[in-house]
């Protein structure tokens, strides 16, 4: 008998603690924080992109009656650092496209969920947020849409599909930002966009009946990595070179939840490209990984730059269960600077971390990636969004080759 350990069950475990000595018992309400006064704004800001009616998460957290049955699950997800899915610790690097749940908000959520989850007094002018279908950065330079709706039938619970989106631009341009408006917000879990100048995507498209194709599209540098709730970044002074006539290839992960399982959907997601008219520095990249046999608790690998660079972003992928992934810059003088710290890395939310401001690394600098494995941990293959190898830890480093324009 397979027994699923459901985590939605609420608990007052921990409330033993809430009454003083070990000889006391639970108290019904032991939280200073209430849903209406304190938790709603946090849930709206930190969770509302997905946990909203019609969102990609299976439940809304934007009203008390919707949130309280999930209190135990909320507590476990926050304590397990699984939710919110943004992982990079603020302070060990600063990032432009997301922020970790701050300590005081974590405290409020955990005290509320363990302390009787009081609803609190109703708050005036508290309006329920609505799903927005507006472009975050305003109208894009180019809007691309899949030519016809794509059907995800009732029997398909998870699938990856590729779509070819011709740009038909007559001149070379640079992409400074990309936005995504899902057609079926409830099932569009993740999107990555690539550029194709070879025509291979169109060939695959033609070979497949219906819109798009399913075979892997091999490309190394995604021009966008999107999941709901991330802040959009307008790169402005740097960009992805978009040659005239290039195609955009969208890789869309459709994933249903227990709410949407068994339902058919059609999706016609829209993609907005923000193009820069002026010449900007082209974003370059390199892909590195841990190539040795995995042995021991600590894995370390480095990449050395033979030129002055301006570091822009880091996109790690990990197939190992790990306690921590840490990336630091090692300068030629022996000093170090923190770049990225992720506790409890989770491969199910692939994320590119854009540095808040470019970091200048002089020639001879190294980027060191270290991973602390979980004792007894295994390895699970994760389809890479940028690498063709199967290294257990991979890193896409994006930079410009000259001194940053921000300098």
């Amino acid at each position: 008998m397979r027994r699923t350990r459901c985590v939605i069950v609420l608990s007052t475990v921990g409330m033993t603690a809430l009454l003083g000595t070990g000889s006391s018992g639970h108290t019904p309400i032991a939280s200073r924080f209430t849903y209406n006064e304190h938790l709603f704004p946090i849930f709206q800001r930190q969770c509302g992109s997905c946990h909203i009616n019609g969102g990609v998460a299976p439940m809304s957290l934007l009203s008390y009656n919707e949130a309280y049955p999930w209190t135990q699950s909320i507590r476990e997800e926050v304590l397990g650092l699984r939710m919110p899915p943004w992982k990079a610790e603020d302070g060990f690097g600063e990032f432009a496209n997301g922020h970790v749940l701050p300590a005081h908000e974590m405290d409020m959520i955990l005290e509320w969920s363990a302390g009787g989850y009081p609803q609190g007094p109703s708050v005036q002018n508290q309006t329920l947020p609505m799903v927005s279908n507006e472009w975050t950065l305003g109208p894009p330079t180019v809007e691309l849409t899949v030519s016809q709706p794509f059907l995800i039938d009732s029997g398909t619970n998870e699938t990856v599909h590729y779509f070819v989106l011709p740009t038909d631009l007559g001149e070379d341009r640079w992409i400074s930002a990309v936005d995504v408006i899902p057609g079926s917000r409830a099932i569009v879990r993740h999107v990555s966009l690539y550029m194709d100048t070879t025509g291979q995507a169109k060939t695959a498209d033609r070979a497949h009946s219906g819109p798009g194709f399913t075979s892997d599209f091999n490309s190394e540098q995604p021009i966008a990595v999107w999941w709901p709730g991330q802040n959009l970044v307008d790169l402005d002074e740097v960009g992805y070179a978009l040659p005239a006539g290039a195609d955009i290839v969208a890789r869309v992960l459709y994933k249903k939840t227990w709410i949407t399982e068994g339902q058919p959907f059609t999706d016609q997601t829209r993609f907005g490209l923000y193009l820069n008219d002026k010449d900007v520095r082209t974003i370059q990249y390199t892909i590195v990984g841990f190539t040795e046999e995995v042995d021991g608790q600590e894995l370390i690998f480095t990449h050395k730059f033979d030129e002055d660079i301006s570091l822009l972003g880091l996109f790690p992928e990990i197939e190992l269960e790990a306690l921590e992934l840490r990336i630091e810059a090692l300068f030629p003088d022996g000093s170090r600077e923190p770049l990225l710290l992720i506790r409890e890395p989770d491969p199910t939310w692939p994320t590119r971390y854009w540095l808040d401001s470019p970091k200048s690394l002089p020639r001879g600098s190294q980027i060191e990636t270290s991973v602390t494995r979980r004792p007894g941990a295994g390895q699970k293959a994760v389809k890479s969004l940028f690498a063709s190898n199967d290294d257990p830890v991979r890193l896409l480093i994006e930079y410009t080759s000259a001194v940053s324009t921000a300098d």
């Binding site: 027994r3 699923t4 009454l19």
Partner: protein, 411 residues
Amino acid sequence: MNSRTLSLPLLALLPVIGGCVSRAAPSVVPTARSSVADFPTQLARYVEIQEALALDRFQDAKERLEEFSLVTDSSTQALIRQALEANDIEGLRVEFKPVSEFFAEADLPQGFARAYCPMYDSGSFWVQRSGPVRNPYYGEVMLTCGVVDAAAGAHMDHTPRHGGTVFMAPDSFHHIEGTYPQPGIFRLYATDNYREPVDISAWTGRAVTAEMYDETTDEYVELVAFELTPSPNGDYLEAFIPNAGFPAELAAKVIFQDDFPAERFDFIFAELSASDASNYTDVASDGAPDAIPLAQRIMPNIPASSVQIAIEIAARDREIQQLIERGSFTEIFIPALQGKELALALQRSSSTLSTTDHNRVRIAVRHLVRAAYLLDWYGDLGNRNDVARAYLAFGSAVEEISSVYKVPTTP
């Protein structure tokens, strides 16, 4: 952190179920059928169906439903006739929902509780016996999925009844008390959410006195274990541990129900347990619980100076270490949550530090807040391994803070 324990199913005790209005028990209107039973009898029959569905026993549930149909009043007859049409267990579960919601709106006698599963059919209620969640809509695959109404006055008393140490079981219903009344004798008592003794005759378990950590699997391998057997009168489980000295350390691994994993409770006895029934007070009967939130009741004084705050955090850290060493896991929450309050206060005042140190404190405080709540939770459950893992996170965060403020971690 141990993800296995984080996903343990836990019984819920809801103080409020929103959107539901309690009403009096449904009136039992005598009909031409003289066999209509009173509400408690109907409820008991209903629960038999619920329990059969929770165990995926379709035929059993159907038979119970037929029996139930003979004792119900007009209020539910139509619903039950509809349910009797079901040809399979999934169909029966669909029809069981309106019957359940009828009973869920009633005032329930002690021993029964209303439960709610937010997953089934956009949210569904049922009624069950007080105890761990037993979901009739999903059965065995998600047996413990759901929330149960708070039982008034329950869980207000964690006082030892036999001079031992009391832990909360992960199902949040049972209370487990371990005692060491005589040299070489370990006893484990169990009570329910009201601290009434429960029948443990079907429980099994082991008292593990030696084990070895296997790093490759991240598991502890038992080296020496003694069987826990029910006492003749069924009051407790007992294990005989030859050649045990003091402190007597053991892990009780108890299986409450077949097909469920053993739950672990770690005990350290520095001396024999002295049972004194007059030594405890029934907190539940002492009046209403204190309305002041816990965090306010245990709020430490926050010193004005950041260095002094860091010193206080280090002091809480040492206190936690001592409690872990003594096996006093249920007391860890006080220094852990006080340390958390101090750390949050420290963060508010850390802006005067250099950017590097400010960031070190910011990261450490977040780490500490999480670890404090893990210690609070795991301490209650009495699992030493989980407590130790949570402490590693807490201790490393304190070390980082102490390093920034140049505070010694040892007195």
